[in-house]
């Protein structure tokens, strides 16, 4: 069909052709610039954090010539000693991992069990009352958990053991209680997202509630529940103040669970302010920080791996 009758409008100035200076165009562009710069800023911040902390954390190995193997496996920590300098961080690495695993051992069954109670047993009450309360508890600051640990749990352990109360056990209980609401709340969300019809199918076959939970619900929710626990562990691993307040911060490897111990975070918290910037001791603290950074990437990778197997 010919378009001759439209020849009056030359196509380059047609009202429907994009016009670089139009106010509409400028409005759109302005929005894009603002939004994209924020996105880029988020990337830059992440890269900057990773880069700065990595470079700083490697200083002790590069500048001070600390041996990586000795740092990771050595048992003695006396980086600013007059005589022999020792920089074995193994007791802290051990402390961090044991607090994390013991806390998870405590919080995972209790949290998942409570989540099952909330979603399968006392549904209305659980979801109307318990879940909001637990979500509020997620928000209780960790120093408060530390303070309670200090005033309740430490004396309790002191009475019932030979130690002074400040101990690995105290750290584990405080952190375990601290991550309990987190684990419960995420687990409950996971259990709720399981479609009702697969539960109904199981009950329809005459299965009891326990059989349904055990054979149908738990397997279906497993990856999400595992994510909940790993998220809790990540939080436990990185927790600083609550642990530092109750664990005793001894630099030696604990011999029993009621012994004093230390974690990566508690040593950083304790010593960062007392060391001279750039000194060996200070650089070693940044290397401990680098372990924390690496571990938070490891937790992300674990969570991604678990989610990739998620069925629900």
């Amino acid at each position: 069909m010919s378009n001759s009758n439209y020849s009056s409008t030359s196509s380059s100035t047609h009202r429907l052709i994009k016009n670089k200076n139009g106010s509409v165009k400028r409005n759109e562009l302005r929005g894009k610039v603002v939004v994209y710069s924020c996105a880029v800023l988020i990337i830059i911040a992440t890269i900057a954090i990773t880069l700065f902390l990595t470079i700083k954390g490697l200083q002790s190995f590069i500048v001070n010539g600390v041996n990586v193997g000795e740092f990771l496996t050595g048992l003695t920590w006396s980086p600013s000693g007059e005589g022999d300098v020792a920089y074995g961080a193994f007791p802290f690495i051990f402390g961090s991992f044991s607090v994390t695993f013991l806390a998870a051992l405590f919080a995972a069954p209790l949290g998942i069990g409570s989540a099952i109670f909330m979603t399968e047993i006392a549904k209305t009450w659980g979801q109307k009352v318990l879940q909001p309360v637990i979500e509020i508890l997620v928000g209780i600051p960790s120093v408060v958990y530390g303070l309670i640990g200090l005033t309740v749990i430490v004396p309790l352990i002191r009475e019932h053991s030979s130690g002074i109360g400040f101990s690995l056990l105290a750290g584990m209980i405080v952190v375990g209680v601290m991550i309990l609401p987190t684990v419960t709340s995420i687990s409950a969300d996971a259990l709720k997202s399981i479609p009702q019809d697969i539960k109904d199918a199981s009950y329809g076959l005459g299965a009891t509630r326990w059989q349904t939970i055990y054979k149908v619900i738990l397997p279906a929710a497993m990856p999400s529940l595992a994510t909940a626990v790993v998220l809790g562990m990540a939080r436990a691993f990185g927790e600083a103040l609550a642990v530092q307040m109750v664990i005793g911060n001894s630099k030696a490897l604990p011999e029993s669970i009621t012994d004093q111990a230390a974690t990566l975070t508690s040593i950083i918290t304790l010593s960062m302010g007392h060391t001279t910037y750039g000194s060996l001791h200070n650089n070693l603290l940044w290397s401990l920080g680098l372990i924390l950074l690496v571990m938070s990437y490891v937790f992300i990778i674990i969570i991604r791996f678990i989610s990739s197997r998620r069925k629900v």
């Binding site: 894009k32 911040a45 909330m118 600051p141 960790s142 009891t208 950074l293």
Partner: protein, 295 residues
């Protein structure tokens, strides 16, 4: 009847779990609130803290907590909302979007002490801000940003597509649609998330130890010139917040009433965190009802 027995045992175990958990948590809250409430009176809230005598208060700490909170929100809310808008509206599936998603995930899983160390390195030292309110607020921005990004993205994604189509089909630009249709519709969700995150920021301590510092100069509450060193508004002075105070009196305090001060401060802290939490829920609900126009 094995089935029935195991079912009953299992049910009892789950009930026990819930009871243990609730009892623990209620005990904790109750412990702090009952022990702490006794310490709270007007002079506790309105007097300066003391470093070795009895009877110190938390006036400056409380002020610092709110000041840092406000400044953190000032930085993190605009950035986070725009970042969330990017993810919900502008990102196309692909590498860059993945990088941003991963970034948000990394930021949100960084331990707060690590954020504090980054703040010490970059804000306090390289940027020369020293131990200061602004360095603390910047560190907490890193800590809070991913939370705001996520609530914004979720709130915008939950708006029905037909709202967006309605605006676009009227010949309105994408950006104007975002500003005038999507963000207003997402507002209740975003606001709820922001207030909730405020509770988290308010209670955070580890990220502040090395950025905002452990001490506060003697503040003069009659001097509101932000450029003077004793002004409460001076963003370049060091500032110990309430949460940091709780930690500090316990680990370094030598005054005789350490425990009373810590308990009192913890009770005040928890009360504010509860206020943030409850108001987030209430405000979210009210605005939601209003916006959806169901009277």
């Amino acid at each position: 009847m094995n089935r029935r027995i195991s079912n009953n045992i299992a049910t009892s175990v789950f009930i026990l779990c819930a009871v243990v958990m609730i009892a623990t948590l209620v005990y904790l809250l109750g412990y702090i609130l009952t022990n702490g409430f006794a310490e709270i009176d007007w002079s506790f809230l309105s007097s300066n803290s003391s470093s070795f005598q009895e009877g110190g208060g938390i006036k400056n700490q409380l002020w610092n907590s709110f000041y840092i909170l406000m400044m953190t929100m000032l930085f993190s809310v605009p950035l986070g909302v725009l970042g969330g808008i990017y993810l919900a509206e502008y990102s196309k599936p692909g590498k860059i979007t993945n990088v941003i998603r991963t970034s948000v995930e990394v930021l949100s899983s960084l331990p707060s002490i690590v954020v504090g160390m980054f703040g010490l390195l970059v804000f306090v030292q390289y940027m020369g801000l020293g131990y200061s309110i602004i360095a603390g607020a910047l560190a907490l921005t890193v800590f809070n940003l991913p939370v705001i990004v996520r609530v914004t993205e979720d709130s915008i994604r939950s708006i029905p597509l037909k709202q967006k189509n309605a605006s676009l089909a009227l010949g309105i630009t994408h950006w104007h649609t975002v500003k005038t249709v999507l963000v207003p519709a997402a507002f209740p969700g975003i606001l709820t998330g922001v207030i909730l995150s405020a509770g988290r920021v308010f209670g955070e301590a580890a990220a502040l130890l090395f950025t905002a510092g452990l001490s506060t100069p003697n503040l003069n509450f009659t001097n509101w010139n932000p450029f003077e060193s004793t002004s409460p508004l001076n963003p370049f002075r060091s500032a110990e917040t309430l949460s940091v105070h709780i930690w500090k009196v316990n680990s370094q305090g030598i005054m005789p009433d350490v425990l009373e001060i810590a308990n009192g401060s913890a009770a005040v802290l928890i009360i504010f965190v509860l206020i943030f939490n409850l108001s987030a829920r209430i405000i979210g609900g009210v605005i939601f009802a209003k916006i959806s126009g169901k009277k």
